[in-house]
């Protein structure tokens, strides 16, 4: 049967196919599900291909302006953080055409959370979820995350039920892997020492730097072209094809003299993305300059919402995702809810591992 439907009807139908809660609105949960479907169809491919596929499917259904592009970008990053998408370093492939920036659909897997709930990740080609219908119906969607709450009345533990489906259980230590704990000064000095050993860089066209002298509360405004600064800066340098390369650069009077690409190519750092290494380094630099980056804690029922004003490395966001959930932004770069009983430990993690300082709530 063929019938004419409204825009809302199309979205409602799509949500039904994607097993999402009903409704005609387009939010991060829906866009994330569309990206998962696009990944099941197109991966391995570039993130831009996924974004484009989703944008095409929403043609004429939503306002197709910057807000949609931003939402797609947020959800794409969320799927990487949440383990639905893998990067080339995590898989093998024998296709010479595959680019280093391409992403892959992760096999379905789960991580048990401290609450007894399971965090779901991965993509199966044709099915929205490889779970049996009675379990799939209990999935809770929030932005780019999917969790399965424990069923206290069930005689069979959730872990066993999920294991029986053949989904792989990722140990928490694998899922939450993070760099070795280090003092900010030690981390900064280690990177700066490596930079000091580099030869002359020569001119770098279109270099952008993250200026440590600027306020830590406005991340986007911290980026600029070098002017007459002297010192060491986190930077991004363009390349002919693909996204810019993250780096750390020494400037004298605004001119680059030494440059070191991130992440450092050693056995520890190679596992992290360039952006993660750069953001972590900037946190160390800001801490050493006595202007630590900030987070804000807002008490809400059951816990607190933590607002962040700069990006966090993937391994830190994954932790917040594990011990809380993404929340709508509130005068911030992004926000996470964290349960009360996990809050102290997570705030300590932010302060000790990322050298963030708490900021009082701005009313």
């Amino acid at each position: 049967m063929i019938e004419e439907v409204t825009k809302e009807g199309v979205i409602v139908t799509a949500k039904l196919v994607l097993a999402l809660p009903p409704g005609g609105s387009v939010g991060e949960t829906f866009v994330s599900a569309l990206l998962r479907r696009a990944a099941a169809i197109h991966c391995p491919c570039s993130p831009a291909t996924l974004a484009s596929a989703v944008r095409d499917s929403l043609h004429y259904l939503v306002d197709e302006g910057e807000a949609l592009d931003e939402m797609i970008d947020i959800c794409l990053e969320g799927l990487l953080v949440g383990g639905d998408l893998l990067e080339l370093s995590q898989v093998s492939v024998d296709d010479p055409n595959v680019k280093g920036t391409w992403v892959f659909a992760a096999p379905p897997a789960f991580v048990m959370r401290p609450s007894g709930a399971a965090f779901l990740m991965g993509i199966s080609a044709d099915e929205v979820s490889p779970l049996p219908p009675q379990l799939a119906a209990r999935i809770e969607y929030r932005s780019f995350t999917r969790t399965l709450p424990p069923e206290l009345s069930s005689a069979v533990p959730l872990r066993v039920l999920l294991g029986e489906t053949g989904m792989l259980e990722l140990p928490e230590r694998v899922w939450l892997r993070a760099p070795t704990e280090e003092a900010a000064a030690s981390f900064r000095d280690r990177v700066f020492d490596r930079l000091a050993g580099r030869g002359a860089s020569g001119t770098i066209d279109d270099l952008e730097i993250l200026d440590s002298a600027t306020g830590v509360m406005y991340y986007k405004k911290r980026w600029s072209k070098p002017k007459r600064q002297t010192g060491i800066f986190v930077g991004r340098r363009p390349r002919t094809y693909g996204s810019p390369i993250w780096c750390v650069v020494r400037l004298i009077d605004g001119e680059p003299v030494q440059i070191l690409d991130l992440p450092l190519q050693d056995k520890q750092a190679v596992r992290w993305r360039g952006c993660d290494a750069a953001w972590h380094l900037q946190m160390a630099i800001d801490q050493c300059n006595r202007t630590p980056q900030k987070y804000r804690s807002r008490a809400v029922a059951g816990g607190a919402v933590l607002d962040f004003f700069s990006p966090l490395p993937l391994w830190a966001r994954r932790r917040l995702m594990n011990f809380g959930r993404p929340e709508p932004r509130h005068k911030s770069f992004f926000s996470y809810f964290v349960w009360q009983h996990e809050l102290a430990a997570e705030e300590e993690f932010l302060q000790r591992r990322l050298w963030l300082a708490p900021e009082l709530e701005i009313s």
Binding site: G9, A14, R37, I41, H59, Y60, D94, F104, A125, G166
Partner: protein, 482 residues
Amino acid sequence: LTSPALVQIWPAGLPGRGWDGEGQSEWLTTEAPCFGIVHDHPVDSYVFRLNSDPEKHIAAKGAGKPIFVRFSPLPAGVFTLSVTAKRGHSAPTETKGHIVLRVREPAPWKPGTTSHSGVAVILDPPDATLDTLWEGEIKLTVLGPEERQVECRIDLQRPDGSEILSDTIGTYALPVSPHDLAAGIRTIQERHGWDLLYASSAQIRISGGELGQYTVRLERNLKPVRWVCRSAKGATSIHDTGRSEEARAELFTFLDPTDAVPLSTPDALTGFEVGGQGGLFTIRSGEHLDALVVNHVTGGLRDLITSPRRRTIAPGPISARAILDALALWSRARLAGSLVVVQRTHTVQCLQAWMIEALCGRTWAQAESRFAGYADSDEAIDALKLEVHSNSFAAALKGRSDQIDTGLEGRKCFAEVAARYNICKNRDQCDFALIWAHEPLRLLVICSNLDQMLTQAAGNPILLRGARLVALLNASPSRGTA
């Protein structure tokens, strides 16, 4: 649709599977396909027809304004949708095109498979080293397309990059479980014996032909100096920098675990047999250090575990710092020999007791010793509380010990109690005492002014005893914490 005037049609609401932009699309029997249609010229209506089904007429909107249509889920098969854009009644014009919908049943997901033509590897622990591999503590899972095989090989290199060996661990059908690979690794160990310990790096190569190759790199923390234990009886060192004159080798025996006995550097370089029961062997070159505990059980049962020789512990921060450094050396050393884990644990516990004695006093150290083994006894707890030498402080700590740990809130709670009973009002000192009592080695990582903090701490033994009281209560069997 081809026309000078454009009519655009596309899968709406969901990214189209198999959509080529020219009319080919793929759907599942579980999906209700939706399409959007928009035109850039006047159109009155659209006529849709799926295969030979009856036509469906839908009124068009103005140019640039889309309409959307939805199909009921279709059975498996190939369907052709013809779409005709009509204008005018007297001299009608038509623009016609076709969309092919290939509909199939959804393919069920198969556990252990990947959706791309390649493998995905999960390494646990994520920071595995070569030592972790030889200790059998690596879990490697390989996922990939069903009914395909991968070959797993291991290559080992010396510190200078030269190859020690390259051997096959095994050939496995996907998915490969950690158990499969562990068995293969054990075979490699049996086949190549102690030579493996000379390796400073390894690559496990997982190759699946056209599935590509995934390499897991495992390194031993590369040090210019490092001990290699060649057999259960002998130990030898390898000096990798080539600056042998700078190397300094020492032995700390189980009897005197804080006293270094110099070893002959030439012997250390060429190899020597471990005498007696063994101990902690260290070798240093400049800032580089390697430490290895070798336990060589020589006699009967009574020799299984050796306790340090009793000594007088000098009170104060200097002594405490020296013992803390020794504690770190012993705790972080690699291990070789039989029952070495048990022996090292015993030595570490003794060193910790000495460090506590240096800062909390001999009487307190003896009280801790008496408390051990009776941790669930109220009498034993009361006896320990008395030795804090501030009854009210100790009682308050006992009452709130379940809220106190080295986390942020736990430290805050400890500092509140210490301030309330006028034991200490300095938050840093309270934090230091609590971490020292629970995880002393962490101080070596996080405390940049350790000597200064130890000196301050030594001036407030009640605070330290209180922190130790909490640590002991929290470690009691009924609490179930370590």
